[in-house]
């Protein structure tokens, strides 16, 4: 192989990297600033509405892994009362098939993705833990009504925040810095 191009190729390549030195870094400084996720995000949890659920177990049947454990007994008004509704989020692959299958909109994907735990047991969510709360919000996956109420996703394609993109600080200096644990 000859160096027939006199190193022009290398020079061009070096120029490209040099140009990038003056471009804004695309980094999101995660713990302090967070991306707005998709409105249809399938976060790493499920949200269950006990009032809407009839205990029909369609979700459990549609789950590819049989991961939803549901136990019911017949109540006094000839309805099913849910005794146990348990999802092992350490096993669920968040495919969303259960949410799509639910005929009463009683199950939704959650938004949050920060669900790391120190203990394996903490990943198994009981029916109390699965309910709607401050930290457990439903996403718009297969739920168009919720979807419409969520903020727009921040996209990397739009470089400016005004257009709906993520914020880029040109110099990339860190202004916000938490205690950093």
């Amino acid at each position: 192989m000859k160096f027939e191009r006199y190193g022009i190729g290398i020079a061009k390549g070096m120029a490209v990297t040099f140009k990038h030195l003056f471009r804004a870094p695309i980094t999101v400084q995660y713990p302090e600033e967070k991306l707005i996720v998709s409105r249809r995000i399938r976060g790493n949890e499920l949200v269950w509405y006990p009032d809407k659920c009839t205990g029909c177990a369609t979700c459990a049947k549609s789950c590819p892994q049989g991961n939803i454990e549901i136990a019911t007994h017949v109540g006094d008004k000839n309805n099913y009362v849910v005794d146990k509704f348990e999802v092992d989020t350490g096993r669920c692959m968040f495919c969303g098939l259960c949410v799509e299958a639910c005929p009463f909109d009683a199950l939704a994907m959650g938004i949050s993705y920060e669900r790391a735990q120190h203990r394996r047991k903490q990943l198994v969510l009981s029916k109390e833990e699965l309910q709607l709360s401050d930290v457990r919000q439903p996403s718009g996956y297969a739920r168009p009504r919720i979807e419409a109420s969520l903020p727009k996703q921040s996209l990397l394609i739009y470089w400016d925040k005004e257009e709906g993109g993520q914020k880029l600080s040109w110099l990339g200096l860190s202004k916000k810095r938490g205690r950093g644990v």
Binding site: M1, F3, R5, G7, I8, G9, I10, K12, G13, A15, V16, T17, H20, I26, V37, S38, R39, R40, I41, R42, S62, P64, M93, F94, C95, G96, L97, E100, A101, M109, S139, Y141, A142, E147, K152, Q153, L155, L156, I157, Y158, G164
Partner: protein
């Protein structure tokens, strides 16, 4: 002139930087020259084929995501096409277009990774990967927008796609399509004429045309060896016959050609995306399909041109809700057959870039 030394066996992998996962190579070396390669795989064998026999047709779709995890959308695509062929299901027009858009976006995303990690194997200290990852990140944003996940999409359904696209999707995609050729040009400037890259890849790991055909190599590996065979053209599935695009082919089949073919295919994919966006019709995104599909007894082999090569699904139905037999024709597994021909006589460093130029994905090889 070469100093002959005693051969020794080097065990590369299963945890090695350049095996793109958990591939293991038993390399017999003479000095630094490779005299024999034995592939040991199965370190990611998850038994997807067996699991598929116990799941309904719809429940298999999430599993196919995890085959070639760099290009999950095309796996979905190939699978649903095979099932639709088996059950004879008509797909709405809009869904067809959406599928094509997703598949071509996926192809760009995959080739970005293939080229980037190929450069990483060449030792370019992550920079090309990170530039290309930036573009891939944009695509992942779009995928996330339509189906809520960044990597395992579970988007296609038998008879269409799971959701119609949100209204902010098309403007963003148009912007991406407009910007992307500029970025590809930039990568071209960064890489394509770089003397070091040329010196490392030109003439290295040549796969002759007849060997490529005999080993049933597919995808960019086959096309780099000057075989104009692209299933999108040779056996048009879905609505690929409506688009105008070229099939880039290489000349000799060396690592540079494989790299070059991937770069060109990205440009062609951008072209297809442009046309698909322009032609996208209104309508339903999914046909009415019974939740528990029971296809008639029979068997079908559906194949598509996945980014890595010919991805085929061989399904046998016994008219139950789960397939009787579910076989995946994984492109990279079969592309690997030719690795030995390409690698013997080259140095360890070359073996690594040859492996990188095949663009392996272990999820698909081992299934």
């Amino acid at each position: 002139m070469a100093i002959r030394t005693e051969p020794f066996i080097l065990n590369m992998g299963p945890q090695h930087p350049s095996t793109h996962g958990v591939l293991r190579l038993r390399v017999t070396l003479d000095g630094e020259v490779v005299t024999d390669v034995e592939l040991v795989m199965g370190y990611l064998h998850r038994g997807i084929e067996k699991l598929g026999e116990n799941r309904t047709y719809a429940q298999i779709i999430p599993l196919t995501d995890r085959l070639d995890y760099v290009a999950s959308m095309t796996n979905n695509f190939a699978y649903v096409l095979a099932v639709e062929k088996l059950a004879g299901i008509e797909v709405p027009e809009r869904a067809e277009y959406l599928r094509i858009i997703m598949a071509e976006m996926m192809r760009i995303a995959n080739h970005l990774m293939a080229v980037g990690f190929f450069l990483n194997d060449l030792g370019a200290m992550m920079t090309p990967v990170l530039y290309m990852w930036r573009e891939r990140e944009k695509l992942l944003d779009l995928f996330e927008m339509v189906c809520g996940q960044r990597l395992t999409y579970n988007y296609m359904r038998i008879g269409g796609v799971s959701h119609d696209i949100p209204e902010e999707f098309l403007p963003a995609l148009k912007r991406f399509v407009a910007e992307m050729p500029g970025f590809i040009d930039e990568y071209d400037r960064l890489l394509s004429q770089n003397e070091v890259l040329l010196a490392r890849t030109k003439g290295v790991g040549i796969l002759p045309k007849d060997t490529a055909i005999n080993t049933a190599a597919s995808g960019p590996v086959l096309r780099a060896s000057d075989v104009k065979w692209d299933i999108r053209r040779a056996d048009p599935y879905s609505i690929y016959d409506r688009f105008d695009f070229e099939i880039p082919v290489g000349t000799v089949g060396d690592c540079y050609d494989r790299y070059w073919v991937r770069m060109q295919e990205m440009r062609q994919s951008v072209r297809i995306l442009e046309q698909a966006i322009a032609q996208l019709p209104e309508g339903e995104a999914c046909a009415k399909v019974p939740q528990l599909l029971r296809p008639p007894v029979g068997e079908v082999y559906g194949h598509i041109e996945a980014p890595k090569g010919e991805l085929g699904f061989h399904l046998v139905s016994d008219n139950s809700i789960a397939p009787y037999r579910f076989h995946i024709r994984a492109p990279t597994l079969i592309n690997m057959t030719a690795l030995k021909d390409m690698a013997i006589g080259w140095k360890v460093a070359d073996l690594i870039i040859i492996l990188g130029s095949i663009d392996v994905c272990l999820g698909e090889i081992d299934r």
